[in-house]
Symmetry: C2
Subunit: 142 residues, 2 copies
DNA sequence: AGTATATAATTGTATTATACAACTATTATT
DNA sequence: AATAATAGTTGTATAATACAATTATATACT
């Protein structure tokens, strides 16, 4: 039973990721791509932070986050706050516009997930949400 | 409750995908990348098929699958069977080597998922597997 | 104080998976 | 026979990523 679940899990994870990767990185759900969305979300919920800290949170390379941040700044969704005590460092904060787009995007994403799971029971949706969250947390502490 | 689950779901899906996308497309788990893995898996379980049919299954562009297949053929993991009745068409079949690598890769992936979920109960793992599969199926019929 | 080392962030370059469009070689339709 | 449709390939572009080199600043050491 243990092995059987693992077998299903590893396959379905691969399927899910490839399917949604292409769905979001090309056909793109809202205005924001997945990375931008997660970056804005993080700043919105956890507060302003520098590139390094954000890269750590996401387990991404610093250079990757640096580019994402630059792109979002250029679009007016983030702005930089120079660090008072360290001339090298910045904090990234979300703008009004950023908040607005984040909210819209989130709404669209929820709508999409709602459509996909429209025939599910509330319990299934809730259980899946909890386990998915748990999985992500487990991956992180690995 | 419905909305709350959706909110968690959409966020955690985004997190999962980004995390595992980078984990598999760059740090790469085994010998096979995610696409190659899924392609071989599909052929192994559902039998030989042409590029078009495979692209349909995966909801990928034909050109994408064509390149993936060419790459796998070049590595000796797939071979082409010309269609008897249609000079344009081929079927792709998995080779012995392909089977071997698929098996190894699957094993590594399962091991990885097993590690991540090592502190989960069997029930959690099983429920997650079932719901994830259901989710993928729901996405497909959308 | 001065030099060496460490650090925050950026920029250059390469890779990978993907899509779309143009093309080739067949097959089917009229 | 001519035209249209189809299976697959190839050209080109894009996006997210990593790694390596670089810049500017900060810290540590002697």
């Amino acid at each position: 039973m243990y092995d059987d679940s693992l077998e299903i899990l590893e396959l379905e994870l691969a399927v899910l990721i490839r399917r949604i990767t292409s769905a979001t990185s090309h056909k793109k759900i809202g205005n924001l791509d997945r990375s931008a969305y997660l970056l804005l979300h993080q700043i919105d919920t956890k507060g302003a932070a520098g590139v390094k800290a954000l890269a750590g949170e996401f387990q991404l390379d610093i250079s990757t986050v640096s580019r994402q941040a630059a792109s979002l700044e250029q679009k007016g969704l983030l702005y930089r706050i120079p660090d008072e005590t360290d001339g090298r460092a910045y904090s990234l904060q979300i703008t009004e516009q950023g908040l607005k787009e984040l909210k819209e995007d989130k709404h669209m994403r929820m709508k999409r997930v709602g459509e996909v799971t429209r025939n599910w029971t509330d319990d299934e949706r809730q259980t899946f949400a909890i386990l998915l969250k748990k999985y992500n947390k487990s991956v992180l502490n690995d």
